[in-house]
């Protein structure tokens, strides 16, 4: 029983990080931008949040957890949005190739994270020495009382604030995309920008905003990893391939935020499953780590076979829009 509860907790812990990335990418892709820079933006968000908290805690004698929380949150959001902005300028304004721009952004973001991770390490006196315990404690604070409820408490209420934020965000996004005028406009931009343009919608503005806000959300995924998951520490490349998992999750969720919620927990569970299966060697572990990707491929095959229009990516995903081009 205890093992199962811990397994669920760990799965959710892994999943939320991916969920942020997937939510950000869903918003971005709904505008027709295929931003493969998500892993990079998550790195950027993570390192920016960590650096903000680290510098604040160093500068102030008795740091306040609340201020550290605010500063790191803001820094992660801004860094992620900056990544989205770089991508938007390249693809929407300069009409560069979306795949190449996205991959470049990932390379850039990962490099940036590792570079400043190294800098912070030397500032703090050596590898593995970075710690922003005060700020991290704010992120790791669990819901009082509710987390003490037997069984339900450990499974549902045993997490930091970002976990609940991720789920709330998914609900808001689902509502926004399906029930509001702006959401309709955004979907139209991603499906058929020429139609949206003819209907008087500012296509470039929607693309920019969706991509930057999507970047900010993805940045929170990095922050979640650094603060709640790792407890305010940094290891170079410790983030691993979670960014790519987020992109896989977008496909798995068929561009629906609510599907991404349970999908992220499933992905998280598959991601750590190898730890709970006894007798696995090093090589067989790697096979288990492939499970989320295999599930994604199966979903891709199934949706392609069913050919349901609603399950397909936005129609103009990855394409430029230029009014005078016919």
């Amino acid at each position: 029983m205890g093992t199962i509860v811990i397994f669920i907790q760990k799965a959710i812990g892994q999943g939320m990080c991916i969920l942020f990335g997937a939510d950000g990418e869903i918003l971005t892709e709904k505008s027709g931008n295929l931003n493969l820079g998500v892993p990079g933006m998550m790195y950027m968000g993570g390192i920016a949040g960590l650096a903000a908290a680290f510098l604040y805690e160093r500068a102030v004698g008795a740091p306040s957890a609340f201020v550290g929380f605010l500063l790191s949150f803001l820094a992660a959001v801004l860094a992620g949005a900056l990544g989205g902005l770089i991508y938007s300028v390249l693809t929407t304004s300069l009409r560069a190739n979306q795949n190449v721009s996205g991959l470049a952004l990932t390379t850039f973001g990962v490099g940036l994270g590792n570079f400043f991770g190294g800098s912070l390490s030397s500032l703090s006196g050596g590898v593995g020495q970075i710690s922003v315990a005060t700020t991290a404690s704010a992120y790791r604070t669990k819901l009082p009382l509710l987390s003490d409820v037997p069984l339900l408490g450990p499974i549902l209420f045993n997490y930091g604030i970002l976990t609940y934020f991720a789920i709330a965000l998914s609900i808001v996004m689902a509502w926004y995309l399906n029930r509001t005028r702006q959401g309709l406009c955004l979907r139209a931009v991603g499906e058929s920008p020429a139609t949206a343009d003819a209907a008087g919608i500012n296509v470039s503005l929607y693309k920019y905003l969706a991509t930057c806000i999507g970047g900010a959300i993805a940045g929170l995924g990095g922050l979640y990893f650094v603060m709640e998951y790792s407890g305010g520490t940094w290891t170079n490349n410790g983030f691993g391939d979670r960014g790519w998992l987020a992109i896989a999750l977008v496909i798995f969720a068929r561009w629906r935020p609510m599907n991404a919620v349970w999908g992220s927990i499933l992905f998280g569970a598959l991601y750590i499953l190898y730890l709970y299966i006894p007798g696995l060697g090093r090589s067989s572990q790697e096979i288990f780590k492939m499970l989320p990707y295999i599930v994604t491929i199966v979903v891709l095959i199934l949706t392609s076979l069913r050919r349901k229009k609603e399950d397909q990516p936005p129609e103009s995903l990855g394409l430029h829009y230029f009014r005078e081009e016919r």
Binding site: R179, T180, R187, A188, E191, A194, G200, Q312
Partner: protein, 519 residues
């Protein structure tokens, strides 16, 4: 009563570079009236409507809406004036429902109340006699349903001046009748309706008045009740212009291509070519006339092996060799059999040439299968490219310049030059002089004549009847995918062909009794 006009255009002129698309056009529509704008292809109808709906800005002239002069710079300016245009190509988002498409881009409360929108749509639909399901997805709809959504989109936005660009081109006769009933209801409710068309029977059946354009110029407006098919045709085709195009007499015409009862059906299930039959002879130019979309494209593409055929047979008679049936072959198989069939498509930089590639590479598209087993032969295409530049006087910095950077006339010369270089037995060209200046056009005519004198069977789809009458030996007239007849270009008149193009005409001969057959 000046403000009786819902919209009035005065002296509208619109130029694209040197081409004058609209030259001093006047037009007016009253409320509660259906105006048909009639004209051949390229007469400037669509340009004029795009001026009204704000897609183009006129170089000269004034527009009055309900008696007041207005400036329309973009479609956003046209909406508040109540002007709604329904394009030939629908602008709809496939995965959204009808209702979502209709409210797309409209201002309103943040939360979208789709049930309320659906109710309003149903009200409008009842008022005008539409059939529409607001919750149906666009991708599940037929063409006619999509058109209904487009019309509803305009009405929902409060449009009272509706412009429809060739709305019946994609509809079945029953759907056309339903559309006309709706348009009459809109007229009776006090809206102004402008319908662009080149189908005379529809003009006579639907409109109150007809304005006719010819080659960008305004010919005149008549009351429909005073008009006849003959009088409208005369206005539409204009008076005969004598062109100084050389036309040598055919020498020793031989049967090269026999097309028997070809039928094509497109993806939407519309019959695009209906039991078309004809014979093409070497040493003559066979013109193909018809209003746009009468099956010209399908005719040439089905011969070239690019369009699948439902039924029918195409026989190819190479010189000094036995006949070959090519009906069931694809383009690749045709060329592999060594059948010398050349096709200059209408879409030069899409189907004919690769724009970003240079002349050598474009020449290689025809010859890349030759050469060694691994390395491609680049030397002979280079020689060919240089030869084509020299003989056709192509204005280009060199053989390595991307062909997409050349002017329209030079692009066409590159394409025609390549196709002629393969010494074809049958040469098919579609709209060979479209977008070309006069001098380039005459160069192309001369090239076609040279091929004719070499004994090539030349088939030329054209839109300018004066040119076809001056260049061709015989003219095949298509109407709604059927061969309306084949006439002798030396004796036929424009009116005769015009009437055949628009369905109602008699004259000409079905191919079975083809009296124009060369001796």
């Amino acid at each position: 009563m000046r403000d009786a006009y819902a919209i009035e255009l005065r002296n509208i002129t619109k130029r694209f570079g040197k081409v004058v698309a609209n030259d001093g056009v006047n037009l007016s529509v009253r409320r509660g009236e259906i105006l048909a704008v009639l004209g051949e292809n390229g007469s400037g109808k669509t340009t004029l409507m795009n001026v009204i709906s704000g897609i183009y800005y006129p170089d000269e002239g004034q527009i009055f809406v309900h008696g007041e002069e207005v400036t329309i710079r973009s479609p956003k300016d046209a909406f508040p004036l109540g002007i709604g245009m329904i394009h030939q190509h629908f602008k709809l988002v496939d995965v959204l429902t009808a209702a979502e498409n209709i409210v797309l881009g409209l201002e309103g409360p943040t939360k979208l109340d789709i049930p309320a929108v659906a109710t309003r749509i149903s009200e409008l639909a009842d008022k005008y006699g539409f059939e529409i399901d607001p919750n149906k997805k666009i991708y599940e709809m037929s063409v006619s349903e999509k058109q209904t959504v487009e019309i509803m989109k305009m009405l929902y936005r409060g449009a009272n001046i509706l412009i429809l660009d060739e709305p019946t081109a994609v509809l079945t006769p029953q759907e056309t009748d339903a559309l006309f009933a709706v348009l009459r209801n809109m007229r009776d409710a006090g809206n102004a309706v402008i319908i662009i068309t080149h189908k005379l029977n529809e003009v006579l059946a639907l409109s109150d008045r007809v304005s006719v354009l010819h080659k960008g110029k305004y010919v005149g407006t008549v009351e429909t009740k005073d008009a006849t098919v003959e009088s409208l045709t005369e206005m539409m085709v204009g008076t005969k212009v004598t062109l100084d195009i050389d036309r040598p007499d055919p020498v020793d015409p031989q049967v090269r291509l026999v097309v028997k009862e070809i039928t094509c059906v497109n993806k939407e299930g519309v019959t695009t070519l209906d039991h078309a039959s004809f014979t093409a002879y070497g040493g003559e130019i066979l013109g193909i006339a018809g209003v746009a979309g009468s099956g010209q494209k399908e005719l040439l593409e089905s011969i070239a092996g690019l369009t699948p055929k439902e039924s029918g047979e195409i026989d190819f008679y190479p010189p000094d060799q036995p006949m070959q049936e090519i009906s069931k072959l694809s383009a690749v198989e045709i060329s592999r059999l060594g059948i010398k069939l050349s096709f200059v498509p209408e879409d030069r930089l899409g189907m004919g040439l690769v724009g970003p590639m240079d002349m050598i590479d474009n020449m290689m598209i025809r010859s890349y299968r030759k050469g060694g087993f691994f390395w491609a032969d680049r030397r002979s295409p280079r020689t060919l490219a240089e030869h084509v530049i020299g003989t056709l006087e192509i204005d280009t910095p060199g053989v390595t310049t991307p062909v997409g950077k050349l002017s329209g006339g030079n692009v066409q010369k590159v394409l025609v030059g390549r196709e002629i270089a393969s010494a074809p037995t049958v040469l098919m060209v579609a709209y060979p002089v479209r977008g070309l200046d006069i001098n380039s056009a005459y160069t192309i005519y001369a090239l076609l004549n040279v091929q004719k004198m070499r004994g090539v069977a030349v088939m030329c789809v054209g839109e300018d009847l004066d040119v076809l009458l001056a260049l061709c030996d015989r003219i095949l007239v298509l109407c709604d995918g059927r061969v309306a007849g084949i006439v002798d270009a030396r004796t036929a008149t424009k009116e005769q062909i015009g009437l055949m193009m628009t369905h109602t005409g008699k004259g000409g001969y079905r191919d079975g009794e083809d009296e124009t057959r060369p001796a």
